[in-house]
C-alpha cells in the first residue's frame, strides 16, 4: 500500500493551505493509456510494460467500465487466460474521483483503500485522467517549492486567530475552506465546548452548535472560503459567518428548503440538500443575511442563552 504521510487534521498550516488549493484535476495525469473492452490481456500487459504503469482503464467511448491492474495480469498469467479479453477479467467495481474534488480526497482515498491509483471523471462522468501517489507527491513538491520561495521572500504573513477573553465574553474565529469536509465542524465544536464550559442550557448549546455547523457547512460547500467568528457573552452568542465569494444570486431561493446548487459528490456525503441556511435560520433567535455577487456573503445569527424559546425547532 502506498500512503501519503500527511496529517490532514493537524499538519503544518502552510502545507495544508497548499493542499486545499489543489484539485484532483490539477494533479492527475491526462496522458491516458486506455484499452477497449475486447482488447486482450496480453496486449494490455505490453501497454503496461511500454508505459511503465500498473493500471489501465477500460473504456467504451469516454465511459469508464473497468480497470485492468497488474494483479489481474498476474492472475491471468498464472491461470492461463492471458489471451482472453479485458472485459472478461477486469476489475469492475472501481473507486473513482472527480476532477473538481479537493486533493485531500485523493490523499484520504489512497490511505483508506490501499489502491495505487484512481481513475478521475469529469462533471459529465467521462474519464478525464488517472491519479496515483506519484502524481500527488510530484504536485505537492512543486507547490511546496513555490511556498518555500514565498516564505523566504517574506510574502507569507502569519495571521494568528484573534482571541479575546474578558470576564464575561469571549471571541474567537476559525477559517473555512472550499470543499474541506475533512476539517468541517472544528469551529462549531469549539463553540460547543465553550458553551458547555459556561454551563449554558444543553438545548441552547445544541441550537447554537446546529446554527454554527450549518453556516460552516454552507461556507465549505458553496463559498470560496471564509471565516467563522464567534462572540460568546453571558446571555447570548453572536455567530458571524463571512465569506469572500462568490455571493448568492437569489437570497430568497437560498433560504428555501430544498434549493441547492451543490454537486453530485457533495450530495453523496449526505449534504447539499438545500437545508443549511433554512436550518440555521430556524435554530437561531435572530438571523440576518447580506450577499453581493463577486463580493461574498455575511450571515449574522444570534442565539439567546435563555432556554425557554425554541424557535421553530422540533422538540
Amino acid at each position: 500500500m502506498e500512503s501519503i504521510p500527511i496529517d490532514l487534521n493537524s499538519g503544518p498550516k502552510a502545507v495544508l493551505e497548499l493542499i486545499y488549493r489543489l484539485k484532483v484535476g490539477d494533479v492527475m495525469s491526462r496522458d491516458l493509456a486506455t484499452a477497449a473492452p475486447d482488447a486482450s490481456l496480453r496486449d494490455i500487459r505490453s501497454l503496461m510494460r511500454d508505459r511503465g504503469i500498473s493500471g489501465v482503464p477500460v473504456v467504451e467511448g469516454t465511459r469508464l467500465i473497468g480497470l485492468v491492474t497488474i494483479e489481474n495480469i498476474l492472475e491471468a498469467l498464472d491461470g492461463g487466460w492471458i489471451d482472453q479479453s479485458a472485459q472478461e477479467h477486469m476489475t469492475r467495481s472501481v473507486i473513482v474521483l472527480e476532477a473538481d474534488m479537493p486533493l485531500t480526497f485523493a490523499i484520504t482515498y489512497l490511505n483508506r483503500y490501499g489502491y495505487r491509483r484512481f481513475p478521475v471523471l469529469d462533471k459529465n462522468g467521462a474519464l478525464s485522467g488517472i491519479v496515483s501517489a506519484k502524481d500527488i507527491i510530484r504536485a505537492l513538491l512543486v507547490e511546496m517549492n513555490h511556498e518555500v520561495e514565498r516564505l523566504e521572500e517574506g510574502l507569507a504573513k502569519a495571521e494568528p486567530a484573534p482571541e479575546n477573553t474578558s470576564a464575561h465574553s469571549k471571541s474567537f474565529s476559525f477559517p473555512t475552506r472550499h470543499w474541506d469536509f475533512e476539517t468541517a465542524g472544528r469551529a462549531s465544536a469549539a463553540l460547543k465546548s465553550e458553551l458547555k464550559k459556561r454551563g449554558v442550557d444543553p438545548a441552547v448549546q445544541r441550537r447554537a452548535s446546529v446554527t454554527s455547523y450549518e453556516l460552516e457547512l454552507n461556507q465549505v460547500i458553496h463559498s470560496d472560503g471564509g471565516v467563522m467568528e464567534f462572540e460568546v457573552g453571558p446571555d447570548k452568542t453572536v455567530i458571524t459567518a463571512r465569506d469572500t465569494g462568490p455571493g448568492i444570486a437569489n437570497l430568497e431561493s437560498a433560504l428555501t428548503e430544498g434549493f441547492s446548487t451543490a454537486n453530485e459528490w457533495i450530495r453523496s456525503l449526505g449534504f447539499g440538500a438545500g437545508l443549511n441556511l433554512p436550518n440555521a435560520r430556524k435554530s437561531s433567535n435572530e438571523f440576518s443575511i447580506e450577499s453581493a455577487i463577486g463580493k461574498g456573503t455575511t450571515v449574522i445569527a444570534v442565539i439567546l442563552h435563555t432556554p425557554k424559546t425554541e424557535p421553530g425547532s422540533p422538540v
Binding site: 462549531s188 465544536a189 452548535s209 446546529v210 449526505g270 449534504f271
Partner: protein, 112 residues
C-alpha cells in the same frame, strides 16, 4: 432503554464503545445529514448508511446517543477515531435501515 442495551435488542457489531451510558430518547433514520440536523433530537439513535467522519460531527452537534451504520457498510478508521473522541457509540449492522428501525421502533415504544 439505555445505549448499552442496543446490542441486546439488535443484531449488530459494536465498533466504538467508549460512551457515557444514558437512556435513549428516540431514533431517527436518514441518509441525508442535513435532514438529520434539522430533525433529530438529543439522545436519539441515528440509523444511516453514511459511514464517514462528518456523520460523527453531526451526531456530536446534536448530542446524539449512538450511530448505527446499516448494510454492513465499511467504516473508515478516521470515523471510529472521531466517534471515540466525541464519546459516541458506533455500531455496524448487516440489516437494512428498515429492519433496524422496525426493531428499535418496537423496543423504544415508538418514541421519535
Amino acid at each position: 432503554m439505555n445505549i448499552s442495551e442496543l446490542p441486546r435488542v439488535l443484531t449488530l457489531t459494536p465498533v466504538q464503545e467508549a460512551f457515557d451510558d444514558r437512556p435513549i430518547a428516540g431514533a431517527y433514520t436518514s441518509d441525508l445529514l442535513s435532514d438529520v440536523m434539522a430533525r433529530a433530537s438529543a439522545d436519539y439513535v441515528l440509523i444511516t448508511i453514511q459511514a464517514h467522519r462528518n456523520t460523527v460531527a453531526v451526531a456530536s452537534m446534536l448530542n446524539l446517543a449512538a450511530i448505527i451504520i446499516c448494510n454492513d457498510r465499511p467504516i473508515p478508521d478516521d470515523m471510529v477515531e472521531a466517534a471515540r473522541e466525541e464519546r459516541i457509540a458506533l455500531h455496524v449492522s448487516g440489516q437494512t435501515q428498515f429492519q433496524v428501525s422496525g426493531i428499535l421502533y418496537a423496543a423504544l415504544g415508538s418514541k421519535g
